[in-house]
Each structure stands twice: as C-alpha cells, then as structure tokens.
Amino acid sequence: MNKGDARALRPKAMLFLVPTVGIAAVLVLQLLLSNSLAGGAHQLRDLKKESEQLSTDVQILSEEVDSLSSQQNLAEAAKQLGMVSNANPVFLNLETDRVYGEPQPAISEEKLRVSGNLISNTAMSVTTDLSTLVQNPSVGVATVEISGGEVILSSAMIPASPTR
C-alpha cells in the first residue's frame, strides 16, 4: 500500500475510533455517576439513621431533665440534703436600705424541714443521686467553697464588703 492509499483509508479508521472512544467515555462517565449516586444514597441513609439516633438521644435526655427538674425530685433531694424552709423571710429594699421583717435563723427541726414528696409522678424515670454530690468534690453544692476575696469598688477608694 502506498502513501496515497493509506491517506485514503485514514478517515474510515477515524470514523470507527471516534464513536468507540466516545461510547467508552460515556460508559465510564455513567459508571462514575452511578457510583457517585450510590455513594450519595448510602451517605443519605447513614445520615438519616444518625439523625434518628440523635433524635432518640434528645428524647432520652429531655425525659431525664424532666425527671430531675420535677418538683417531686427536687423536694426529695432538698429533704435528703437537710434543707430547712425559713418561715421568716426578710426583704431588703436596696433603694431605701430598709429591712422588712424580722430576721430569724431557720430552725433545723424535723417538723420544719422541707417535707418529703407526697405528690405522685409516674413519669419520673431518674432521680437525683445525692451520693455522687457528696463523694465527688468537683460537683455538688455540699462541697462548694465560696471565694471570699476583697471586692474593690470601681472608684478604687473604699473596699466593699465581700458579703454584700
């Protein structure tokens, strides 16, 4: 075959090559697209599952918060901590520096203590674990130390009482 014949045959080869490469490219693209879509569907499923799990977690936690913040749990916890209701509250009027009422210490007698809960609540799933509060110094009111440093007024003239 001379050069002229080869030149005459070249377009026919191109005619075969171009569609073949094109089809191959389309197939590869389709494969990539399918993979991508399948991956997206899996990701969507996983995210939906995670979202459902998180919703369930939220529900569990909110029910726990409901229980712990219920009046019944707080009353029981207050009683166990030996809290006393002071029958003689005193009010201070900050504008006039006037004291209303007669200050008296709360008396720690059994009959004056916050009474134990008498109101039923079957929705309570958890209660305050006071043993944790007492044993763990990092949490709980039982072991909280009040910092008592000197408080300086903004004028920096006279130190104000830290008990203010």
């Binding site: 029910e63 009422g101 008498l118 079957t122």
Partner: protein
C-alpha cells in the same frame, strides 16, 4: 448472469423492506407508548408503586405561667416480632463472626424489656408475621433494642402524652387515652387549641416493598397543635398540693382544695386538690379523684358567707362599722325554729366586725335579716353565685342558689350564714376576690392564651362586675382582719410580718340518709393579704375531716400557703397597723 444478479438484489430489497416495516412498527409503537399513551401508562405504573401515608400532627403542649411544661407529646415504641422470620442472628464481635441462637436473643430481649425469658421465647416461637412483645417502651429501651440489630424485630413509633410534673395540677389538666383522645380537664376543653391536623404524603415503593429514596411527596403538610398557656404557677401549685395532701392525711379527710388568686387581675395561680390524679396513669386512683372538685363539687359554705352578707349589709346602708347588735347564743323564730350560735355564750354587744370575729349566726341574722330577699339575691348573683364561672370548666357546677321567690322563711335567714345554698370552691374564692379588689369581681382566668404559629388566640375576655362600692369592700376587709387579729381560731391564720384578713367556715354537711345535718363538716378558711392592699386571695376547704368541730384544721394549711405565696412573689411585709374599728360596744 442477468437473472442470477437480479435474485440477490430482490432478496436484499425484500429484507430491507421487512426491516423497514419492523422498524416502522416498532417506531410507531414507541411513539404510541412514549408519547400518546405515556401519561396513562405512567399513571398505572405509579398507582402500583404509590403508597399513601398519614403524617401525624403533634399535639401541643400545656405550659404554666412561667413556661414550664405541664404536658407535652413524646414518642413511645411498641416492640414487635415477625415469628415466621425468627432465626439465629449473626453478630461481629471484635472481628469474629458468631452465631446467636434464638434462645440467646430471647434472653437479651428479656433483660432489656424487663420480661420473663419464657414469655419472650413463647412470643418469638409463634407463627405469622406479627406478634407484640411489649407495648409503649420508652426511648432508652427502644434504643437498646435497636442496638441488638435483630432483623426479625420491628418497632412501631407512637405518639405519647407525657406529664413531666405528674399529679401537679393533674385535676385541672385532665388526661388523654392511649389513642391520644382527650378524656378530661383542659386537655378535653381546649382540644381545638391543642389538637393538630394530620397531613398526608405519598412515596413510591420498590418491588420488594421498600421505600424508594427521594420519592416522598407531601400532599398535605400536617398542622401542629397549639400550646395552651395557663395562669397556674406549677411550683406554687406543687407546694399547695403538698400542704393539702399532708392535711388530708393528718385529718383523715375525704378531700381538700386550695385556691390562690391574684386579686387585681383575677388570674388563678393555684387550683390544688388532694387527693390528686397523675395524668400519666389516671387508673392509679379511683374515678372520684380524677375530677376537679374546685369546679365540679358544690357544698354549703357556712360561715365564710358571713363576710359576703356583711358587705351586702354595709353596701345597702343597713349597717356600718359602729352598728350595735346584741347577739344571744340562740334566737327563736316566729314559726318555732331556732337559729343557734356554734357555742354557748351570754348576750354579746357586737359590731359587724365583732360578729365576724366570733362568727355569730344570731348576730349576722340580726344585722342583715331585714334586707329584702330580692336585694340580697341580686347581690349574691353579682358575687358570682348560682352560675358557672367564665372559665366554663368541663362539667363545672353552678352551685345551688334558688330564686329569692322560692326561699322559705328559714332559707331567707340561713343563706345569711351560708346554709340553704350551695357554692363551688371557685365561686366562693372569687367572691372574696371581689372584696380584695375594691369591690370589683373579675372573671376568673385560668387560660392565658393558645399560641400557634406565633399567633395568640383564645385570650380571656376580661369581664368584670362591680359588686359593692370601694368603701364597702375596704371596710369589709378591715372587719375580716379583726377575725385574724383578734379571733380565736382565726388568729391561727396569722402570717408573721403581714396583715391578713379572712374568715373561718365550719359548715355542717347533710347526712347521707337525708335526715338533716350529720356529724361531718366542711371546714374552710378564706382570706387575703396584705390586708392593707390585698394582692393575693387564698382559699382552703377541707371536706369531712375526722373529729372536726371548728375550722382550726383549715387555718394551718391557709397559713402555710399564704406564707409561701407572699414569699414567692416577694411581697414586702406590712408596715401599718390594722384599722381602728370596734368589735364590741358598751
């Protein structure tokens, strides 16, 4: 050669013709299916794949005055099994694939579901596609079951009504049944606010019955229920219920109620009862404890009505602070009946304040017995007796106040001291609210509003009725203060630091056999503080306490609740003395 050449050409033409015909037919059918009949075919196909599903709307919450949740909707889960599919389960544990037998799985489920192993084993060993293992487990249990990843366990999610504070305000909130249908209380009365409207969605399913992702279409979005905002202060409500539960226990009473009203607004802050119902499980108490006695039960009020009668006498000009009455301990009536005081005493020279202080039946009869029954009847209507309150609570009683024309001679007089008529605790409490609020009775407010999509609806109309003059109300309160300041039983209602006005009530209860009054009493104390400018009205009534002969059993709970109310709302203690009005005369 020519004939041989023609044959292949003809065959080629025939084949080409056939292929053209086939292509033509296929093309025609293609156009027919893809264009002409496309919509119909799509519709038939979609109908086969389409599934319609109801989108459940969420019932709204009930909130107290501070936004604390008293009722809300959460989810519970029914744990079900498909017995036909039950088999061993494979699980990867630390990279090792192990097989768990049905017995092993049954043990795991029994532990999580708090059931007997045999019970679980029996359920999973049955036949068919469905068997329920346990109903309405909470989210924590559901999560544990899900984590087992058992292919033959499936779960139904169900709406569930949760009342986080249990029996706090349970008697007025009411409850719903297992299907979420409201059965009692505000849940039922305000269902139009709380209930949502269910929506609808469609999705496509595969041949295997699985939902095709991204195929869901919402046809009708659900409308969520509104939130009901109450005037009740749940902390105070809890405190009052604690006090009442203690009183009922210690006095072996049938029940007790307490009401706290903000005098100047008519807002109902506490509507407490003991025993109370826990709406989470109403079946724990008998049916009589599931109602709201504050609205639904009426009783003869007894001496608490004397404050109202005194106000009427003052307002009509029949009496003033210095009116002189000689009160014996008994009074014979022209038709032979007698009116007696609750204790024997020599004739006492009493003013209206003195009559209230010793709670003299004879004294109040002499003070106001001459006022026309029609005038008194109109006053009683204005005070709110004989008709339901504006709250219009489910099954609310109107009490019993016969028209004046139907009063016989005795009823005409006994109504002066709270017999021959019946009132509900809420009516009686709001008659005292009128006295505390300068003579203006406000419509009770229990529901502040219904919030939905940022809109506030169902707000109270805010009606009011001028019952007596401001001066009359002030003077009546001053007189009631003498009950607490100087009275016997009344003085046990004193709250240190505050001026308190109030009135005792010891009403005999009709015997069950209808033979007149029996040995049981409804004891009560209704009062307000600070007396110099009443902010809060507190009412306590204890029904059938054991061994009661006076209202001494009602003043301690009144004192406890009133103290807590004043402390809770930071009311400054009183700084002025009580009014200088006499209780007796010489």
């Amino acid at each position: 050669m020519g004939a041989h050449d023609a044959q292949p050409k003809n065959r080629l033409r025939i084949i080409a013709l056939l292929i053209s015909a086939i292509v033509g037919i296929v093309g025609f059918r293609l156009v027919e299916f893809q264009v002409v009949l496309a919509d119909d075919i799509n519709e038939i196909s979609y109908a086969k794949r389409e599934v319609q599903r109801t989108l459940e709307s969420e019932r709204g919450s009930i909130l107290d005055a501070n936004g604390e949740v008293l009722a809300r909707t959460i989810y519970r889960y029914d744990i079900n099994v498909a017995p036909d599919m039950v088999g061993p389960v494979f699980r990867d544990i630390e990279g090792v694939r192990i097989e768990l037998s049905v017995g092993d799985i049954a043990q795991e489920l029994a532990l999580i579901l708090d059931m007997d192993v045999n019970e679980v084993f029996q359920a999973v060993s049955g036949e068919g596609n469905y068997a329920n293992l346990k109903k309405r487990v909470n989210a924590a249990v559901y999560q544990q079951v899900e984590s087992l990843d058992i292919p033959w366990i499936f779960v139904d999610e169900l709406s569930y009504r949760l009342y986080p504070s249990g029996a706090v305000a349970g008697n007025i909130i009411g409850f719903v049944d297992v299907d979420g249908i409201p059965l009692a209380g505000l849940e039922r009365q305000y269902n139009t606010c709380l209930a949502g409207v269910d929506g609808q969605e469609t999705f496509e399913r595969s041949a295997q019955g699985m939902k095709i992702p991204s195929s869901a279409q919402t046809i009708k979005p659900p409308v969520e229920g509104g939130d009901l905002n109450l005037t009740i202060d749940s902390d105070l409500q809890y405190f009052a219920q604690q006090v009442l539960a203690d009183s009922v226990q210690s006095q072996n009473a049938e029940y007790a109620v307490a009401i706290v009203i903000e005098a100047e607004t008519g807002r109902l802050l506490v509507a407490a009862e003991a025993p109370s119902v826990d709406p989470n499980d109403p079946s724990l108490v008998p049916s009589e404890h599931r109602q709201s006695r504050i609205f639904q039960n009426s009783y003869e009020p007894g001496s608490t009505m004397k404050s109202i009668t005194t106000a009427i006498a003052l307002d009509t000009g029949e009496a003033n602070a210095y009116t002189q009455i000689v009160a014996e301990d008994t009074m014979r009536l022209p038709w032979g009946d007698t009116i007696d005081d609750s204790f024997n005493h020599d004739p006492r020279k009493l003013t209206p304040a003195g009559i209230l202080k010793i709670s003299s039946n004879v004294g109040i009869t002499k003070l106001a017995g001459e006022i026309s029954r029609d005038v008194r009847y109109d006053y009683l209507l204005d005070f709110g007796f004989g008709e339901q309150t504006a709250i219009n609570f489910e099954g609310e009683s109107a009490g019993l106040l016969r028209e004046a024309s139907q009063w016989d001679g005795m009823t005409n007089l006994t109504t002066l001291f709270g017999q021959g008529m019946a009132v509900t605790p809420i009516q009686m409490a709001y008659s005292y609210q009128a006295l505390a609020n300068d003579g203006v009775r406000l419509d009770p407010v229990l529901v502040d509003s219904c919030s939905r999509d940022g809109q506030q609806t169902m707000q109270p109309a805010g009606g009011s009725t001028r019952v007596v003059d401001e001066g009359t109300a002030r003077l009546t309160v001053d007189m009631m203060e003498k009950v607490v300041e100087l009275g016997g039983v009344g003085s046990t209602a004193q709250v240190p630091g505050y001026r308190v006005a109030g009135k005792t009530g010891t009403a005999q209860i009709q015997a069950d056999d209808g033979t007149g009054y029996g040995d049981s009493f409804a004891i009560s104390f209704f009062g307000m503080a600070p007396a110099e400018d009443p902010k809060y009205v507190v009412a306590v009534m204890i029904y059938k306490p054991e061994g009661a002969i006076n209202s001494a059993g009602a003043t301690p709970p009144f004192k406890s609740i009133m103290s807590q109310v004043l402390r809770h709302y930071r009311v400054p203690p009183s700084t002025t003395p009580s009014a200088n009005i006499p209780t007796e005369w010489e």
